[in-house]
Structure formats: C-alpha cells, structure tokens
C-alpha cells in the first residue's frame, strides 16, 4: 500500500470507529435530505428548474472568458480592484501584501471554501495577523484547529459538549452545553472582532457579470458585517462563480439554499457592488476581488468541464452513502464527498489523490440530487480510467482485468471459468452452503459477510442439460 493509501485507510478506520460521528452524520443527513425533498416538492417542477440551472451553468462555463472579462470591467467601474490569481501562491501573496500594506492586525472572515483551498488563514497567521472566522461553524472548527468536514455545515461533526469546551477556553470560565447560550457567547466575542478588524475577507457564492457585483448567501448576518465594517473588503472567489446576470442568479438562488439546507432562501442574500461611494454612510473604503484559477482553467475544454457547474450546495454530500458513514475528514481533501472526490484529483492531480475516485459505490445518488446536473458518478469512473491509463493502478489489478477482458471476449475461456467456480471454491467451503473464509481477493468479502457457494451446475450447464429440452412447445 502506498503512503497515501495507508493514510486514507487510517482516516476511514478512525471515522468508522467514531460512534458519535456516525450518529451525528446520519442525523444531519436525514435532516438535510428531508429538507431538500420537502422544499423541492413545494417549489414544484423541480426537474424543469434543474434543467434551467444546468443550462445557465453550461452557458456560463462555455463562455467563461467573456463573462469574466465583463465582470472584471464592471467591478472596476464600480471602484473595486480585481486581481486574477493563477494559483494559490499568487492569491495568498496578493492578500498578504495587501494586509501588510494596510498594517492590518486583525482580519475577520465570513465562510469561504476557496479560502480553505488556498490555505489563506495559515499564510496570514504566519505573517503575525490575527484571523477570525465569523461563521459560527467555521469559528468552532477554527478554535478546534480543524478543517471543515462539510462544505455547508463545517462543524457537522462537533457535539454541543465539544463546542462548550472550546468556547469555555476562550471565555476563561465554564459555559453550559446549551446551543442558545453558546451562540450568544460567540455573538458577543465576534461582535468585538468585527469592530476591531482592519480587513474583512469574504467568499462569493456568485459574481454577477452584468453589474460587477458579488453575491453572498448566509444565515447569520456575519457576511454583512464582514463586508461592511472593516475598511478593506477582500473577496476570494473561484473563477467559475460567475453568472451572466441577475435573472440567471434568480434561478440559481431558487435551487442553492433548497438543495443545501432545505431552505427556501437563506436569511441573508447580500449583493455587494464596489466599495463605499460618496454619500454612503457605511461600507469599506476599498474592495479587492481576487479571482482564483488554481487548476480550474485546465479543466475547461476537457470531458470533466461540467464539474465547473458546481454551485457548492453540498447536496451530493448529504445524499452520499459513503459520506454518511465516514464523514468529511476521512477524505483528507478540502472538498469532501462526491464533489471532492472528483474535483480534488482534477485540481491537484492523481498522484496524491488517486484513492478518492474509488471512495464510492457508484450508486449515483450524487448525480441524481445535483441541482446543476453534474454527472458525478460518471466522472468518478472516468477518473478511475485515468488512474489505469496513466499506469497508476497496481500490477496485480491490471493483470486481473486483462484476463477479464480476454475471457469476456472469448466465450470458450469464459465458459470454462464459469463452470469451474464451484470446484475452485469447494475446498474452502467445508461442505457448507456459505463460505465464511474465502481465499485471495475474496477474503475482504468474507471478512465482513458470508459468500454463497456456487451451485454444482452453473446456469449454462443446467440449460445444456435440462433447460433447452424442457421447451414444451
């Protein structure tokens, strides 16, 4: 086993042995799945909405260059500064230099997955700047020194007792494990941080090309404070976050919260167009928009292009039976679940991430639930093909499947195999109808469940002996 494989296996084992995590994940999935189901039924014509959203995303991604240009021009017209970062280093360096130039001591952040992707917090902290996550879930995992285990519900794996323990350390006194009280405490602490912060960093759910605006969906009001209180507002956005216009946004707004958390709409939908203008009473003096490529551009024009349709709703995580049992951290990537298993190897290469495409039973629940029609399970298979065709699969596996290809293409050999199965397994059956300890690759099967013994006659033997002549007519 390779180092990465071993590490992946260890993370999976750890999750599977964490009874609390297992229960929390099942309960959270239950709530999120039911919420989506209920809200999509209330909305009605879900498949039509979905088709429309898919068309919007497809059109946007196919014309990404011109929409990005339009967005950047319009944002600049509104007074924002736009920076295109080809990779995480460029993005981080731009933001870090800006922070140093502004002599920033403290930065508040609202939730942004792309900032996780570029490891922004670590870079800023190493420059001696305090970074405070202000989304409640993100705040919790920041205190725990962890990473998000879900793209929408980052602290899905934490209990209220664990949160109370983390918050008590900050408070310097023991806080009760009461969600209301804990939220109240966080609100008090974070309010101070908002007022002190020199820079606010947000993500962008969408960026509207026709007006140069960024749009944020949030539930806690922290995004509003992050984008209005500090003197400088920095937006980090993946380059595929673009929508052509507000009308297109409306369609996606109808799908994202419903798919993500089963909400008709999030508590706040914030459009930000440029920094503070003359006559405005509040708002940042400067707005910087960092548009991040970091591996996305190379996906354009490939068979995987549709992965750029993703609107980061997390529905595929909520419907994935694998995520249900292992949670987000087991994947080891910034983006977990089916979307992460496809996106991570595409962005960062198969060398480090070739285990992820196999972390799926290919049940297709992800593709079925995806509101923008990304063929996730199909992509997982194609990534496996890439593993094989770039020589990354094990030799043994390769030999086995070459034999498979040969046998299935040659009926006489195939027949031999079918008819021999019974005698090949017989020595291991000890006269029983089920094997509890099978040999070779099958031992992984019998480790956790029984394997039936093949009957004496295969179907084709039965057919030759009896079936064919039983035709009564």
């Amino acid at each position: 086993m390779s180092k990465n494989q071993t590490a992946f296996q260890e993370r999976v084992d750890k999750s599977l042995n964490d009874d609390f995590l297992r229960k929390a994940l099942v309960a959270a999935q239950e709530k999120l799945r039911n919420g989506k189901k209920e809200q999509s039924e209330i909305l009605g014509n879900w498949e039509n909405w979905r088709k429309r959203a898919e068309q919007i995303r497809q059109h946007t991604i196919e014309n990404l260059d011109s929409y990005l240009e339009q967005f950047a021009l319009n944002a600049e017209k509104q007074g924002a500064k736009v920076f295109f970062a080809t990779d995480k280093t460029e993005a981080v360096e731009y933001i870090k230099s800006l922070a140093i130039q502004k002599k920033a001591k403290s930065i508040v952040k609202s939730k942004s997955m792309v900032s996780e992707e570029i490891h922004l917090n670590q870079a800023l902290e190493s420059a001696g700047i305090e970074v405070v996550e202000t989304d409640l879930g993100e705040y919790i995992i920041q205190l725990a020194k962890e990473t998000p285990s879900h793209i929408i519900v980052p602290a899905i794996h934490k209990t209220k007792e664990q949160v109370a323990e983390l918050f008590s350390k900050v408070a310097g006194e023991e806080l009760p494990a009461d969600p209301q009280e804990l939220a109240k405490f966080a609100r008090k602490v974070l309010r101070e941080k908002f007022l002190q912060a020199d820079i606010g960093v947000s993500g962008a759910n969408f960026a509207v090309a026709e007006s140069g605006s960024i749009v944020l969906f949030s539930n806690e009001g922290n995004a509003r404070l992050t984008t209005t209180l500090p003197k400088t507002h920095v937006v980090t956005m993946g380059m595929e976050r673009i929508v052509p216009n507000w009308e297109a946004l409306d369609s996606l707004l109808s799908l994202l919260p419903r798919s993500a958390t089963g909400q008709k709409i999030t508590s706040y939908v914030t459009g930000v167009t440029g920094p503070k203008r003359v006559g405005d009473v509040d708002g940042p003096e400067e707005m910087h928009i960092v548009i991040i490529d970091n591996g996305r551009l190379k996906i354009l024009g490939t068979e995987y292009q549709d992965i750029l349709h993703c609107i980061r709703c997390g529905a595929c995580l909520n419907h994935c039976p694998v995520y249900r049992h292992i949670g987000g951290h087991a994947y080891g990537s910034v983006y977990p679940g089916p979307i992460g298993s496809v996106l991570t190897p595409l962005l960062n290469g198969l060398d480090e991430w070739k285990e992820l495409p196999y972390a799926s039973s290919l049940c297709g629940a992800c593709s079925e639930t995806c509101p923008v029609g990304i063929p996730l399970d199909n992509y997982l298979v194609k990534l496996r093909r890439d593993v094989v065709e770039t020589g990354r699969a094990s030799k043994l596996e390769k030999i086995a499947f070459q034999a498979f290809g040969f046998a299935t293409g040659n009926p006489s050999f195939y027949k031999l195999g079918v008819n021999m199965a019974d005698s090949a397994l017989k020595p291991f059956a000890k006269g029983e109808r089920y094997l509890v300890k099978a040999p070779f690759v099958l031992k992984n099967w019998t480790k956790v469940k029984d394997l039936p013994m093949p009957p004496k006659l295969s179907f084709r033997q039965w057919w030759a002996k009896e079936g064919e002549k039983q035709d009564g007519r």
Partner: protein, 243 residues
Amino acid sequence: MKASLFITCVADVMYAHVGESAVKVLRSLGVELDFPKDQTCCGQPGYNSGYFAETKRSAKQMIKTFQDSEYVIFMSGSCAAMIRETYLDLLKDEPEWLDRAHQLAEKTYEFSEFLVKVLKKTDLGAKLNARATYHHSCHMTRHLQVTEEPISLLANVQGLDFVEIPYKGDCCGFGGTFSIKMPEISEAMVHEKTEHVRETAADILVGSDMACLMNIKGRLNRNGQDVRVMHVAEVLAEGCGLI
C-alpha cells in the same frame, strides 16, 4: 414471441435457480426463449474499475452474441443499464460498433420490465404466503429508471404481505469491486441495509439484481438474520407452481 435470455455472470455462476425460474415463467407466458451460448459478462466490473479497453472486448462480444435476437431479457437491472447507457458512451468513437450498440440497447429489457412493458402482464396468478420487502438497486433505479414494474408484479402475488423498506433509495454497499477495495465502508453500508430489512420484519427480501442480493444476504447471514433473498423471477415461478 421470440426472446433471448442474458443470465448475467453473477446469476450464471452463483444463482442458476434464478435463470431456471425466469425460463419457466417466460415459457409459461408463451415466450420462445433461447440462450445464446457465446454470452459472457456485460463488462461492468471492468468498466467500473476503469479498464475501458478491456470492457470494450466484453461489450463487442455482447453485441455480437445478441445481434440476431428480437428481444434480450436481462436478469439484472444494472447490466441492462450498462447496455442501454454505458455502451453508448464507451463506444462513441467507433461509429460502426456504436450503431450496433444502439440496436442492442433498443431490444434490451430487464426481466420485470419485459413482463410489464412488452408482455403487458402484471398479474400472473401467483400465490405466495410470506411477508416481503423489495430492494431497489441503484443502477436499475437511477440509470435504467425502472422502479415500478417489479413492484406491480409483486403487488399481484396473492398472499404476499408487501412492506416497503425504509431508505429504499440507499445503496446496499455492493458497488462491484468497491466491496473488495473498500470493505470497511461497504460493511457499514450493508450493515445499515440489513438493519432496514430487520425493521420491515420481512421473511423475504426480493430484488432484481443478484449481486446486491448476494451482498445483503451475506451480511444477513453473518448477523444471524433468517431472511431469504429472491429474484422477482423466483417469486413468480414459485408462486405459479412452476418450480
């Protein structure tokens, strides 16, 4: 009516009884059935593991084997989906084979689907006294999009006390080589499935994909749960006294 049977690799090796049952049910409905002996495997294990070149050999063998058939009846929803959906993608760069793949796809039917859509039969007059639930396999549901046909056949079996399984859309954890490659995750999934079977208090778990049923049955046994697994064809054959 003439039709050919595609038994599937799993049923050929492990569940000859499923094939026998299908043969008897189909013949009782007047189908003139043949079993082209050059059939092998649809290639799904290779495809799902990323061995596309090898899978093309399986696909071409399937296409050749059934080229003269009027209908091809599949004893697995997943394999039928492989023909109807995957072959068309797999062979898209080989126009001649793609054309032949389309011809096969058009005459491909899953067993229950064939009974209901082609033979227009939902009530075979079967009788079976048991409490039963049904496992909706993933590819049959999501790719083949055949969900109601087996249920309507079971609904007409007299004496069958049918109860829907909770979380009917959740995967059983088989996933082909997934169950061997990631046995621990697969175990967690199949265990949850057996708990849902337990909740139904069913004596029989019916399905249309023997690979899934083999997976679930393996765990049911390991748990000490006494539940019989049956293909729809077996329920009908037994219920009609054909076997």
